[in-house]
């Protein structure tokens, strides 16, 4: 299986070269070149996407089995690149408006993107850690990029300290796993766990630490505390990026980790994910009810959404994993559109964030109001919007495996969540108008909104391509994975000779 072919790594390599080349350009031309670098980065992302699509998507293990390229990582990378592209498009004008026009900004986005692409392709604890840290370090800087704003600095510091703590937990967990299984290679870990009767306590302990660290990255309860503060403090374009992309990468990583090497420890991690998922839904739902700041509200909304996505993981089936991918994809598109609207909340050149600032938006800027209306109904999972189908597939995966209580509590929290999404609609449509927002609506933002709304509205007419894609990607995750808990019996034994 060992393969020193670098072809599956081409997208990452190309993106890295682009980023470093642009860094040199930026270093010579300074901040005046930011705009050009933004667009060049966007083009770089698009080209990377085409390279990715041009690759052979059959499973390949390269770099001494540290890096795997299969349908799952391919699809996740496409989603990540789309997210990075949307973030770049949303940022271009915004960073000029906010006076944070630094040439490092788009380049950091690219580096974070590379980190995330490595994360979803990691097949080894070390490549996992490297990808994760490349991503995290870029994100810490991005959160604090508004140097003159104390809130942004606070967000950066907070994110960095807690992020560093979670990285520490992750490393400790990895070392425990290494100690008890003798390897950092996913395949070896998977085989050795498969071959033992009961999972050693040390492995469980390490797994808990790793899960805690990753729960931090996807901001799942009880490791969510940083999210509202960082979302609020960071510049909105950065918040949009945080809400969309890193979570998807971290979820991708989590899925591969749990469903591949730790498949044998299903009973152990299932309980944790079950709890985390349930708590995220509840906390996300209730805490958002009382928020006044739209960015904090979206932070809690994202916490809740991660809870729903995790339901699919609890199911532990290929169907569940496919549901998670679809859910995340739809969530990302809705988030992109939502933040495009939030960025337009400016009065006299100053950004405003209060929900009450949206009062009567339907009179002043009907386009923005209708975009947000569609997205809010979609977020609350009302058919026929796309958000409903995201929820449908995850709940279906859970119910299919007999998790009736989780599904029931999930739908009930979705009703609670519907309340605060409705509140935004209410403020925009039922309340009296206040001062209008600035009329400026940059083209890139308009494109993101249009794409997002059209996708959300039209998904109902042609849902099956997306569903089949996510399902077949999830299947590829299972093809080399040890077979899951339910049918464990026979298949697990047939795998054992390979382990020996």
């Amino acid at each position: 299986m060992v393969d020193f072919n670098l072809v599956p790594l081409l997208p990452e390599i190309f993106l890295a070269i682009t980023a470093m080349g642009l860094l040199i350009v930026g270093a010579f031309h300074g901040n005046e070149s930011t705009r050009a670098i933004c667009w060049a980065s966007a083009i770089g992302v698009v080209v990377t996407g085409f390279i990715l699509l041009g690759l052979d998507w059959n499973e390949r293990h390269v770099l001494n089995n540290m890096f795997v390229f299969d349908q799952f990582s391919g699809l996740m990378k496409v989603i990540i690149l789309l997210g990075v592209l949307a973030s770049l498009a949303l940022s271009v004008r915004y960073i000029i408006q906010e006076g944070i026009e630094r040439f490092e900004y788009p380049i950091l986005l690219l580096f974070a993107g590379i980190g995330m692409m490595i994360m979803v392709s990691a097949n080894n604890m070390l490549s996992l850690y490297m990808g994760l840290e490349l991503q995290s370090l870029s994100l810490y800087v991005l959160a604090a990029i508004h140097r003159n704003s104390s809130k942004s600095a606070e967000a950066g510091i907070k994110y960095f300290i807690l992020g560093a703590l979670s990285s520490g937990l992750l490393l400790f967990g990895i070392s425990l796993i290494y100690g008890f299984t003798g390897s950092v290679d996913f395949d070896v870990i998977g085989r050795s766990l498969m071959s033992v009767e009961t999972i050693p306590q040390g492995v469980t302990f390490g797994l808990v630490l790793i899960l805690a660290a990753l729960a931090f990255k996807i901001s799942a309860v009880p490791f969510h505390m940083w999210t509202p503060d960082v979302y609020q403090g960071a510049p909105t374009s950065v918040t949009a990026f945080f809400a969309m992309v890193p979570k998807i990468a971290a979820m991708g990583l989590l899925m591969r980790l749990l469903l591949d090497p730790f498949a044998a420890a299903f009973d152990q991690w299932m309980q944790i994910i079950y709890f985390v998922s349930l708590m995220s839904m509840i906390v996300g739902g209730f805490a958002a009810l009382v928020q006044e700041d739209i960015k904090r509200l979206l932070a809690y909304s994202s916490i809740g959404n991660m809870g729903y996505a995790l339901i699919g993981l609890v199911a532990g089936t290929a169907e569940g994993a496919g549901a998670v991918i679809l859910y995340l994809f739809i969530y990302m598109i809705m988030t992109a559109g939502t933040f495009a609207v939030v960025m337009c909340m400016r009065r006299n050149g100053m950004a405003v964030y209060k929900i009450s600032d949206l009062s009567g938006l339907s009179k002043n800027s009907p386009v923005l109001a209708y975009v947000l209306l569609v997205l809010m109904f979609s977020m609350s999972g009302i058919p026929p919007m796309a958000g409903f189908f995201g929820k449908l597939v995850v709940f279906n995966a859970a119910v299919d495996q007999g998790y009736y209580i989780l599904a029931t509590l999930g739908v009930i929290t979705s009703v609670i969540a519907a309340y605060y999404y409705l509140r935004i609609v209410k403020v925009m449509f039922f309340d009296d108008a206040v001062d209008a927002f600035d009329k400026e609506l940059p083209l890139a933002r308009r494109v993101v909104m249009l794409f997002s709304v059209v996708f959300v509205l039209c998904f109902v007419f042609k849902p099956s391509p997306f569903m089949s894609m996510s399902l077949s990607a999830a299947d590829s995750l299972f093809s080399n994975a040890a077979i899951m808990s339910a049918p464990a019996g026979d298949d697990a034994q047939s795998l054992e000779p390979a382990a020996g």
Binding site: I382, P384, L392, N396, D400, Y404, L422, V425, M467
Partner: protein, 520 residues
């Protein structure tokens, strides 16, 4: 027969109208508003024309689903796009396509702000309503069923009265909570049977112990929608605050979705659970009938009074449905259709005087028979229809229901019959206070009579109320085969489960002989 997808055309035609409005009409001046109204009106009239065409081509002697369409939709899950109507759902589709143009005309002058949005919301609503009644796949049904919430939420919230925010939230969250529980039930059903195709599920009920839970999950949704006591409290609020057209469609069609759900899901898919919970439904219905009738007696707000009367009338419907007798079920369907016409028209009548005086308080009116004779006449016919006077459609429904319920449970039927008396009491009181009564309010006495537009939108509803009262077979003939099949299947399942008396085993033997005969 028809060889084009008439149901899909009817479902998506209103959406096409929305696209036309969005694509062609700019600005919000008077001309744009008028154009919008005309596009909306013509779209809904076209849809109505298709509806009539469907009625004419419907084969009333068959209990099978007709105009069936199938294509793939959620392919990886094997969930398909499946449409079709039988005798029961066909009339609900007709009711929807008939009330929508009436609502649009009734809103012609009453809605002054955001006309374009209002018309779009109504067309979207129409599309979802038709879809709900045509869908033969449970997930597709759910999409339409819950999608209705969006336009209705906006209609109440944007164009409603002073407490519109509270009412729209209450409406939305109550119904959503019920619906999501049904969604879980639906997914469990899917996990157990591997299909969400309604005809397949109707033919093959799931295991008995599962039925109880699923029945409750579906009940949560339909009982809220219906609405049944004690989850009816959203309805008076929603009715009072909604604009006239919104109330009409709410009372006329949206409430019927609950009853339709019982007929389409609860009875055929969970027969044993339905039998098990019959007493519960009976008692809830009787409480609803008596309790809400008493509440209606003391209302001061005209819309609230009619809203409570709706709850009482829907109580009769649930009685009829769960009596599971041919008469009871026919009566329930008939009562739903008749209530759709009558209460819709009653809300229009309230809208007529509200437009003139901007109040719905009973004490502000009185003695208007002298200055509004035409209005008084129409209101009287509708009021008597609501009371259930023989000769109006209201009588047929109530009579059949009581007849069916009497066979199932004498005590319940007797208690329910008192509701008829109470119904007469509050409706006559309403009529006396508004139309007769002391001639004290000068402004009420100077109101002009119905104008042409108001007269012509009420006319078809009044005519149908009378026509169906003397000629109910127009409906009952076409629904009879579907009802007979429903009752037969239900009893067959109960007999198989050993829950039914031997006398109906004879029915079963007859049924089997019939089937054998058909095969030969």
């Amino acid at each position: 027969m028809i060889d084009f997808p008439i149901l899909s055309i009817m479902t998506f035609l209103p959406l096409a109208g929305v696209l036309v409005i969005l694509a062609t009409i700019r600005g919000d001046d008077e001309i744009a508003d008028r154009n919008t109204k005309y596009v909306a009106l013509y779209t809904s009239l076209f849809t109505l024309a298709f509806g009539v065409f469907m009625y004419v081509n419907f084969d009333g002697s068959s209990a099978e689903f007709q105009f069936v369409e199938r294509s793939s939709w959620l392919k990886p899950f094997g969930i398909g796009y499946h449409m079709g109507v039988d005798g029961i759902s066909m009339f609900f589709v007709l009711l929807s396509v008939m009330l929508t143009p009436i609502c649009i005309i009734s809103a012609w002058d009453a809605i002054k702000k955001r006309v374009k949005e209002f018309m779009i919301a109504f067309l979207v609503l129409e599309s979802f309503m038709i879809g709900t009644f045509c869908a033969l796949d449970a997930v597709l049904f759910y999409v339409f069923f819950e999608g209705v919430l969006i336009p209705m939420f906006l209609i109440i919230g944007v164009w409603g009265g002073p407490r519109r925010v509270y009412s729209s939230y209450k409406f939305f969250l109550y119904t959503l909570l019920g619906s999501v529980l049904m969604l879980v039930g639906l997914l469990v059903l899917f996990a157990q049977t591997g299909t969400t195709d309604i005809p397949t599920l109707m033919a093959n009920p799931v295991a008995t112990n599962l039925q109880y839970w699923l029945w409750l999950a579906f009940f949560a949704s339909f009982a809220v929608k219906m609405p049944m006591w004690p989850v009816h409290t959203w309805l008076p609020d929603a009715h009072v605050e909604a604009p006239t057209a919104g109330s009409v469609i709410l009372a006329g069609v949206l409430l019927k979705m609950g009853g339709y759900g019982f007929l389409r899901f609860s009875l055929p898919m969970f027969p044993e659970a339905s039998a098990y919970f019959t007493d519960l439904v009976f008692w809830l219905s009787v409480i609803a009938i008596i309790y809400t009738s008493l509440i209606a007696l003391v209302q001061e707000d005209m819309k609230k009074l009619i809203a409570y009367s709706s709850v009482a009338h829907m109580g009769f419907v649930t009685l009829g449905i769960f009596s599971v007798t041919t008469q009871g079920l026919e009566g329930a369907v008939f009562q739903m259709l008749s209530h759709g016409l009558i209460s819709g028209a009653l809300f229009l009548c309230v809208g007529v005087v509200y437009d003139r005086l901007h109040t719905r308080e009973l004490s502000r009116y009185g003695g208007i028979v002298s200055n509004m004779p035409r209005y008084a006449t129409i209101f009287m016919i509708l009021m008597l229809g609501s009371v259930g006077l023989p000769g109006t459609s209201g009588f047929v429904g109530e009579f059949l229901i009581l007849m069916g319920t009497f066979q199932a449970d004498t005590v319940i039927a007797t208690l329910a019959a008192t509701g008829v008396v109470l119904g007469a009491a509050y409706m006559l009181m309403l009529y006396r206070k508004v139309v007769f009564g002391p001639r004290e309010n000068r402004d009420a006495l100077s109101m002009p009579d119905l104008n042409k537009r108001e007269f012509y939108i009420l006319l078809p509803l009044v005519a149908l109320t009378l026509w169906l009262g003397v000629f109910p077979t127009m409906i009952t003939d076409k629904i009879a085969p579907s009802i007979a099949k429903l009752v037969n299947d239900y009893e067959t399942h109960l007999v198989q489960a050993g829950l039914m008396e031997p006398e109906s085993k004879i029915q079963l033997a007859q049924l089997e002989m019939q089937k054998a005969g058909e095969n030969n």
